[in-house]
């Protein structure tokens, strides 16, 4: 069912110039015009625009570095982040071959921060994904069906909204117990209302568009309307929200770990390192400094990227 541009332009190359279009199309032959449209599409592609937007590109680079670190970092560090060595306790950065120094148990801080990136990304992206999938589905159904179902779902979402985000996640963690999968689940569930709201609002707008009505007039089913036409048209909003949401999820994970409810020690996580750094801010500030910096940079990166994507996808929202 897909209509690939490349295939056709190959066809047109084989058959030489496409003459029939020339008469109707004006100045250009069909092939030339096709080439021009391709060029224009390329120039206006989201990727190109993103690269032109400086801050968005900076955000993209940061995010890429963090993700790269999360995936490959551990194999590059070559040190066990959990190996204790009391000789190295609170070692200063650079001492004893440890770039960022040692922590309260003499573990290599650099290795811990790198391993922490893996946890951070896993938890935040995982939480975002769960929230997005469930939230988008609820939003689509709620917005499309309307009526009682919509009222009911949205009141439930309102109820969840009324809880402070952290409190909600804490509550869920207390019920579910600790552990990484439960942290992801908790963050995911706490994220659901945000997606549901955004998607519902967009659906209410899109479903009244003329093109949706015209598909309905062809006799299309609700499933087709929702997934083939409405979803693709609200998706850009979801992507923007999701990118910004990852930044929020990283902070949430850090806060949960900081509060001692998230990732269980000895697994390295930025929030956990930050917490242990809190006890020794006077004597060994590097603990809190580097874990805090890691959080700051990553969150900044995702925010810049999210804002950039929004500007690219929806220039009207730019202020």
């Amino acid at each position: 069912m897909t209509w690939k541009m490349s295939k056709i332009s190959k066809m047109s190359k084989m058959s030489g110039a496409l003459t029939p279009g020339g008469e109707r199309e004006g100045d250009l032959s069909g092939a030339a015009q096709q080439a021009m449209i391709l060029r224009e599409r390329a120039a206006n592609s989201v990727w190109r625009k993103l690269c032109r937007n400086k801050s968005a590109f900076a955000g993209f680079v940061i995010v890429a570095v963090v993700v790269f670190t999360a995936i490959l970092g551990p194999s590059l560090v070559g040190k066990d982040p959990n190996k204790m060595n009391f000789v190295n306790m609170y070692a200063k950065p650079g001492e004893r071959g440890m770039i960022l120094g040692g922590d309260e148990f003499g573990r290599d801080l650099f290795a811990r921060v790198v391993y922490g990136a893996r946890i951070s990304i896993l938890v935040s992206v995982g939480g975002m994904a769960i929230g997005a999938v469930v939230g988008v589905l609820l939003g689509l159904i709620s917005g499309f069906e309307g009526g009682m179902l919509d009222s009911f779902l949205m009141r439930v979402m309102d109820g969840m909204f009324a809880f402070p985000f952290i409190l909600l996640a804490l509550l869920l963690l207390t019920t579910l117990g600790e552990g990484i999968q439960n942290v992801i689940l908790a963050i995911g569930i706490a994220n659901v209302p945000g997606y549901a709201r955004i998607v519902r609002g967009q659906v209410l707008f899109v479903k009244n568009e003329e093109y949706i009505k015209s598909v309905a007039a062809l006799g299309a089913s609700s499933v087709r309307l929702i997934f083939a036409h409405i979803l693709p048209n609200v998706f850009s909003q979801v992507i923007v929200y999701a990118t910004l949401n990852v930044a929020g999820a990283i902070l949430t994970e850090a806060s949960l770990s900081f509060l001692g409810m998230g990732i269980t020690p000895p697994t390295a996580s930025w929030g956990g390192i930050l917490k242990s750094g809190q006890d020794c801010l006077q004597t060994a500030p590097h603990l809190a400094l580097y874990s805090g910096l890691a959080i700051l940079l990553t969150v900044l990166g995702f925010n810049l990227l999210g804002d950039g994507i929004r500007d690219v996808l929806d220039p009207k929202m730019k202020t």
């Binding site: 069912m1 541009m5 056709i8 093109y211 009505k213 015209s214 007039a217 089913s221 036409h229 693709p232």
Partner: protein, 328 residues
């Protein structure tokens, strides 16, 4: 309603009414009723084009959508080839959508911006499960050619087409199924004159080639007159005059029709218009005048017009006005 034809018409509409309920501004006041289509009856014969003219807010678009049950009518009946559309289930109606469709007003908003032309034209066939994938692709090319586009246009997105081309796409899409009756809702209003002529010609060609029946809704009198066999003039949800295109133009019977014709801009700088200028604008359909809907603006209004609602009467050339000359 007097029967003119002995043969059963393709579409018969009886006392069709669509009332919208509008929440009133006051908190506890009852909702107000807006009669967008008010007791409308007419027939469309197979192969003819019925033009529906009216100003904005007269309910012509609502009428078009109600005919295909894109908006559910409040009361009244619609018969398509002797089947009562108003009584069909959703599934039966879906099957019938292969034969009935609408080409809508704005070529800019009526196509999904994230789908290619090929997908959009193929979609009606996918929905109704017509043909294999390969056959459908071939049919798309055929349809593109039929409306004056080329096969390579299939890969383009709607925003990569001009307004006229988009309207062609819309038409190709409607024709993808085995269509019999098309409601054209202002299909050329958003287009430039030269492009408008292209689309009007295309519609006329297709009608002849495929034996289509059109209901052509527009506010542009000259286009409607050109394309239609019969014309219905609507004012505030009601048909005020209905008859043969040439007859109505030569001798309009309703004062509103007369005013409408005299308001058309001149066709040359030498033309001196006979001027019948209506004062004011169309009243809100939420509080209709008590008698004839046109009585508030009618230059010939009599006391009776403010009290009673005139019915559409006459044979062949019907008119809803107390003051119209009596038909033989």
């Amino acid at each position: 309603m007097p029967e003119v034809e002995t043969a059963e018409p393709m579409l018969r509409v009886e006392r069709l009414t669509k009332t919208f309920r509008i929440k009133s501004a006051a908190l506890f006041a009852p909702p107000m009723e807006l009669k967008a289509v008010n007791d409308v009856s007419f027939q469309v014969r197979e192969g003819e084009t019925l033009g529906i003219i009216g100003e904005s807010g007269c309910g012509k678009s609502t009428l078009g959508k109600t005919l295909l049950r894109l908006i559910e009518p409040t009361s009244g009946r619609i018969f398509y080839r002797n089947r009562s559309l108003t009584e069909l289930s959703r599934g039966e109606m879906k099957a019938l959508r292969k034969e009935l469709n609408i080409v809508s007003q704005d070529p800019y908003s009526s196509l999904d911006p994230r789908k290619t032309a090929g997908y959009l034209i193929e979609e009606p066939m996918t929905i109704h499960g017509i043909g294999t994938k390969k056959e459908r692709k071939e049919r798309v090319t055929e349809l593109l050619n039929m409306v004056g586009l080329d096969y390579y246009h299939a890969t383009r997105y709607p925003h990569e087409f001009s307004g006229g081309q988009r309207q062609r796409l819309n038409i190709a899409r409607a024709l993808a199924m085995n269509l019999k009756l098309i409601v054209c809702d202002e299909p050329v209003s958003a287009l430039d004159v030269s492009v408008q002529a292209q689309v009007v010609n295309l519609l006329c060609d297709l009608k002849k080639k495929l034996k289509l029946t059109y209901i052509f809704i527009s506010h542009d009198l000259s286009v409607v007159k050109y394309i239609s066999d019969r014309i219905a003039i609507m004012y505030l949800g009601k048909i005020v005059e209905l008859g043969d295109e040439a007859e109505i133009y030569a001798a309009p019977l309703h004062p509103y029709t007369e005013a409408l014709f005299s308001a058309i801009p001149p066709e040359s700088p030498f033309e001196e218009k006979r001027k019948i200028r209506l004062t004011g604008e169309v009243p809100s359909p939420m509080n209709l005048p008590r008698g004839c809907a046109f009585s508030t603006r009618c230059p010939r209004c009599e006391p009776r017009c403010r009290e009673e609602v005139p019915e559409l009467t006459g044979v062949g050339h019907e008119v809803a006005c107390f003051l119209a000359p009596v038909q033989p």
